[in-house]
């Protein structure tokens, strides 16, 4: 019993921590310190996940008591740690950003933690019931975070679009699962998978269900052409919330995608080029990468450019998803590693963007950043570093993320897909480097308002933490690779 509680301790930590934080915020008169508390809860979640991982989650007796509702395995522990890390970095950023921009209301942290809780449930869900509950717990919290700037019309507009399209996608996903329930009589993913292996993919109702599920998943990972909400919601939200959406929400959505596609549709017929989901996913990946990279280059707002860049990264990850068709373990390990590098690089980029602006003058456009490299190197240098990692320049973490995903695609025989992905990452480098050009080679136009960076210990801490992780992942990728391989081993074969 105690050991079982230990096995789900990351979940308990974040769930109970969120409720305690809510109570503390409602009952205590003391302001401040909430950011630290929330970040502490998140990093304690990381520590718990690491502890259970090292103890060996397979050896805990009675671990199956949670299944099929929650699959407590190395895959879900990996995502517990990843999501808590992303959330913790967002909390740290919020600790600097919210007071600076006069948004310091405590519900931000409770919402963020509850939504992290939902994301963790989602990544561990082995049944449609918990999957839907986790998805909605996560999404409802994030909708509120996106609307957090109540005085800004942009914020509420972005949140409105996000909410409408997000719940539409959830309804599509749910109806798809309802159809599958009708065909197979199961709502647990493993049961659906066993029934699909008997050739149910020929059933028109199952095909309809698969299509609806794919569309719903594509909405959630913000793949083109279902990405319309992404730039608006990302731009309107306060930057720490944007970071949370780009990092944790996207990570959990990909965890859900991996579990659904590889568990429920992992049989040879559903996961084949001739009669299954891989070709659809490959086309979505191609369109996503190409459109997102072309549009990102035309943006005037850096925040919006980063939003499109996160869409483009979803495209690269989808390339890895397609490759799971041939080698489930290796390709999904690549996806997990990519998510890890993407998380730390993106968090760093958003953190640096926060640092570049201050109250009433948030740095959002390229012009805002002009010449900041010479005037404020402490803010510009980390920004440049994380953008290089996002662009995939060696020896940063981002390079190895792309390397492993592309390699698994090559080994799966998807040469054309890999070439398109490679060309795209070259195009992508253009708009990342453009930021560097503005920071280091341009001077602001005469009389233009000059952005002055803010100072914040919280944001600096977040930056240092993600910088250390980016460097560590870039210099010693083998260690973390063995971790992602163990996490991906649940998909067998």
């Amino acid at each position: 019993m105690l050991l079982q509680a230990f096995a789900i301790s990351p979940l308990l930590m974040v769930g109970i921590g969120a409720m305690l934080l809510m109570m503390a915020e409602a009952f205590s008169k003391v302001r401040g310190g909430l950011a630290l508390g929330a970040a502490a809860v998140c990093f304690a979640g990381v520590a718990c996940a690491a502890g259970v991982w090292m103890y060996g989650v397979e050896t805990i007796p009675g671990i199956d008591a949670f299944s099929p509702w929650l699959r407590v395995d190395r895959f879900s522990l990996f995502f517990d740690a990843l999501l808590c890390l992303g959330a913790g970095l967002s909390c740290l950023m919020a600790g600097g950003y919210l007071p600076e921009h006069n948004l310091d209301r405590g519900e931000f942290y409770s919402l963020l933690l509850l939504s992290t809780f939902g994301a963790m449930i989602l990544s561990a869900a082995g049944d449609v019931l918990t999957l839907f509950l986790g998805l909605e717990t996560m999404s409802l919290g994030v909708y509120c975070l996106a609307a957090f700037r109540r005085a800004s019309a942009r914020s509420s507009e972005g949140a409105l679009k996000y909410f409408l399209l997000g719940s539409f996608a959830a309804a599509l996903l749910l109806y798809g699962f309802a159809l599958l329930y009708g065909v197979t009589g199961h709502t647990d993913l493993q049961g659906i998978g066993d029934a699909m292996a008997k050739g149910n993919i020929r059933n028109p109702m199952a095909i309809m269900g698969l299509v609806l599920i794919l569309v719903g998943l594509a909405f959630k990972v913000s793949a083109v052409p279902f990405h319309m909400w992404t730039p608006d919601a990302y731009e309107g939200a306060p930057t720490p919330a944007t970071n949370f959406m780009a990092v944790a929400v996207k990570g959990a959505a990909f965890a859900m995608m991996l579990r659904v596609l590889l568990t429920a549709f992992g049989d040879p017929r559903s996961a084949s080029w001739a009669s299954g989901w891989p070709p659809a996913l490959a086309w979505i990946a191609v369109i996503t990468m190409t459109v997102a990279n072309l549009v990102a280059g035309r943006q005037e707002s850096v925040k919006r450019m980063l939003a499109y860049s996160s869409v483009a990264h979803a495209g690269y990850i989808l390339v890895g998803m397609v490759a799971t068709m041939h080698s489930a373990t290796q390709a999904s390990a690549g996806v997990l590693f990519y998510l890890l590098t993407y998380t730390v690089s993106t968090a760093g980029a958003f953190g640096a963007l926060i640092l570049c602006g201050r109250r009433g003058a948030e740095a959002v456009t390229y012009e805002d950043l002009a010449g900041i490299g010479r005037r404020h190197p402490a803010a510009a240098l980390p920004f440049a570093f994380f953008l290089l990692s996002l662009a995939g320049v060696p020896p940063t973490a981002g390079f190895f993320g792309k390397w492993f995903v592309f390699r698994s695609a090559m080994e799966g025989g998807f040469y054309w897909l890999t070439i398109i992905a490679f060309i795209n990452s070259v195009i992508g480098a253009y708009y990342y480097l453009r930021v560097l050009v503005f920071m280091y080679m341009r001077e602001p136009a005469a009389g233009a308002p000059v952005a002055t960076p803010m100072r914040s210990g919280y944001v600096t801490a977040a930056l240092i933490l993600s910088a250390v992780l980016v460097i560590a992942l870039g210099l010693t990728p083998t260690k973390s690779l063995s971790v992602v391989f163990q996490a991906a081993a649940i998909f067998g074969g």
Partner: protein, 101 residues
């Protein structure tokens, strides 16, 4: 006894009505209602399918949770619509045009 197919057909029609309503109508509140119609169509399908697989009640239990989630979703959705209305004095989604490209 009415066959299960009829219920499933009805739920598919309801789901389509909701989906088309969501895509066609420009009033945010109507879009919200369309989403609720879609979720209720799902509930109908789940309960109907549960009669086919009557050994366990997973479908019915799932539909309970969907009802609860739909209520929470409506609460959050209306709050967002309200804050949008406060700033823009409209509930039409084609007037949400500040963010482009």
């Amino acid at each position: 006894m009415i066959p299960v197919e009829y219920y499933v057909g009805l739920s598919a029609i309801l789901f389509l009505i909701g989906g088309i309503g969501f895509l066609v109508r420009r009033n945010v509140l109507v879009a919200l209602m369309s989403i609720e119609v879609m979720l209720n169509a799902t509930n109908l399908a789940l309960v109907a399918f549960n009669r086919q697989h009557a050994q366990v009640h997973t479908g019915q239990v799932l539909s309970f949770f969907v009802i609860a989630v739909a209520a929470a979703e409506a609460a959050v959705g209306l709050a967002i619509v309200l804050s949008f209305f406060r700033l823009k004095r409209t509930v039409r989604s084609d007037e949400a045009d500040l963010l482009r490209n």
